[in-house]
């Protein structure tokens, strides 16, 4: 069932991961017309990323935690009237009120337009747009990277990247893969790499795990998280993987590709402890320091944000997952990284709230209360987790002056430091203007955190880098030029 012609959908959901599917099916079940827009060919997002059907995976669940939850969502989606628009890379979200003559206030519920380019990597240059009365942003997160000498060498890959390539393509970056960085994702990555046949000489975690113990009540009310950690921990033990906490990979060795890494002990502030470096032979390194909410479509509209204890920015949401902009809801990692189970609950809450607003659907109060209770409990755990793995202020001590910080524009730490000490830059944006760090293809997604840390004055709090990117993905000029014409196809 699709909205026909120019008639807008009741709800457009951006992102077909756990939060997005849960929101889409909840809204559909309450009678809304829903479009589910996603860049990938398949649903599942990054967490439930899985092999293409042609790869014939008989046991996809072997690569996943809690696969049955995804199967349930998939069944509800298949039984729904939700229109799944795959291969749509959204570059902007706009509200149609600019063109109307309606009096102030009356435009609050004017329809939205989602602008996208299509194709597996958005290069097909067939622009598409989707109109809807309400939007649910469920765009997830991408991995946070902190640079160190050698991190641009082939064989160094994102920890989440290694897992994504394994889940979708059934490939490994090497035979022997060190996993490093910070955050619970590392344990999941290490256990899937080991299960898939890689040797994992070590998991190197920059934090300790003791900080979790400071919040016993939050731990006690989230037993499923402890169970998850035990599952991964047991898998690592079974594969003989060593976990080294309060340590970091501070150098990668090799000429054309990774041959070994140096693992160094860290002090409480993540400063390397001199003389503690030990070399570990490996042919790949999977590294990541947590996840960054992907919120640029919302911040471009002026949505309020909040700082998360791990130093990232997330959307500031109300009790029913609505952003500070009326008619725009968000769920899952966009409100702070908290995992798949939380994303499902938040997606459903947002879907129900949108149905109540747009269609006046009657939403069972008991169900909403239960969802909110579960959301609050899991959110509390997410905040504890974020605090436990926040980068310590001493991590720039890993960098030498010739370490590339910005991978796209090849800007070194020395040049960023010079922009701060000699040219007076005090924030990531000014460093970008002086050095081009963050001005390349990825628009600062890989270097934003590092540049913001290097730009902060000694002792000053690090402001999370602004996630403002006027265009969320690269767009050919021809698409922008064609906006005023009727050349765009209505994907409805």
């Amino acid at each position: 069932m699709t909205a026909s012609g120019c008639e807008p959908y009741d709800l457009v959901v951006l992102g077909a991961g756990c939060a997005g599917i849960a929101g889409a099916v909840a809204a559909d079940e309450l009678g809304l017309t829903v479009a589910l827009v996603d860049a990938s060919a398949q649903t599942g997002g990054q967490f439930y990323r899985h092999p293409a059907p042609a790869l014939g995976a008989v046991r996809p669940e072997a690569l996943h935690h809690d696969w049955s939850a995804y199967r349930d969502l998939g069944r509800r989606l298949a039984a729904s009237g939700v229109t799944h628009l795959a291969g749509h890379h959204v570059w902007a979200l706009t509200r149609d009120d600019a063109a109307t003559d309606a009096p102030a206030g009356a435009t609050a519920d004017a329809p939205w337009t989602v602008h996208a380019v299509t194709g597996p990597d958005g290069a097909e240059e067939r622009p598409a747009r989707v109109r809807a009365r309400a939007v649910l942003l469920a765009t997830g997160a991408y991995e946070r990277q902190l640079p160190f000498p050698g991190w641009t060498l082939p064989g160094v890959v994102g920890a989440g990247g290694a897992q994504a390539m394994l889940k979708s393509g059934l490939v490994l970056p090497g035979r022997s893969v060190v996993v490093a960085g910070s955050g619970p994702l590392l344990l999941a990555v290490a256990s899937s790499l080991a299960a898939a046949g890689a040797r994992v000489p070590a998991v190197v975690e920059a934090s300790g795990y003791l900080r979790y113990a400071r919040s016993p009540r939050v731990l006690a009310t989230n037993p499923h998280k402890a169970a998850e950690a035990l599952v991964h921990g047991a898998a690592l033990l079974r594969h003989g993987v060593r976990l080294r906490t309060r340590s970091a990979v501070t150098e990668v060795h090799g000429t054309d590709r990774v041959e070994a890494v140096t693992v160094t002990r860290l002090d409480r502030d993540w400063r390397p402890v001199r003389g503690t470096g030990r070399r570990i032979a490996c042919d790949a390194l999977a590294v990541g320091h947590g996840l960054v909410p992907q919120i640029e479509l919302a911040t471009a509209l002026g949505c309020a944000t909040r700082p998360v204890p791990d130093g990232t920015l997330a959307l500031d949401l109300d009790a029913h997952q609505e952003t500070s902009v009326r008619g725009l809801w968000a769920a899952g990692e966009t409100g702070g990284v908290g995992g798949a189970a939380l994303a499902r609950v938040e997606g459903e809450l947002a879907g129900l709230a949108a149905a109540a607003r747009v269609r006046g659907s009657r939403v069972p109060a008991g169900r909403v209360r239960e969802l909110r209770r579960r959301r609050d409990r899991m959110r509390a755990f997410a905040e504890v987790m974020a605090a436990a793995h926040a980068p310590g202020p001493g991590w720039p001590g890993w960098l030498t002056d010739d370490t590339d910080v910005c991978r796209c524009e090849e800007v070194t730490a020395g040049r960023v430091r010079a922009a701060v000490t000699e040219l007076g830059a005090r924030d990531a944006r000014t460093v970008k203007l002086f050095t081009r760090a963050g001005m390349g293809w990825c628009q600062g997604r890989m270097c934003g955190t590092a540049v913001a840390c290097l730009a902060a004055r000694d002792g000053a709090a690090v402001e999370p880098p602004s996630e403002r990117r006027p265009l969320a993905v690269p767009v050919p000029l021809s698409v922008l030029a064609g906006l005023e014409e009727s050349g765009e196809t209505e994907a409805s």
Binding site: A54, R59, P154, G169, L170, P173, E410
Partner: protein, 104 residues
Amino acid sequence: MARTPADLVGAQSDPPFEITFDGRRITALPGQSVAAALWGAGILAWRTTRDGGRPRGAFCGIGQCYDCLATVNGEPNRRACLVPARPGDAITTQEGHGHDRLGV
């Protein structure tokens, strides 16, 4: 214990096919991205950077970092981690920004 990712999930894929990387034949499985096919052949780099001419390949694996840009069938700047491999694809190392010959 599984020795390969394919063993782990019991993959029974459609028949493999060939693509080329800088003229060298490699085998890809249907459903794999270009980057996955290259990793499967042990190839981790297929781009050189504009300033340093340094080798790069897939890094983030989800289309965010653009480190995996490749020239696919003559078309530069394709994200190899997202583009599916097709039989007969010719992948070539992308040098710099991919438009060197145009002088732009």
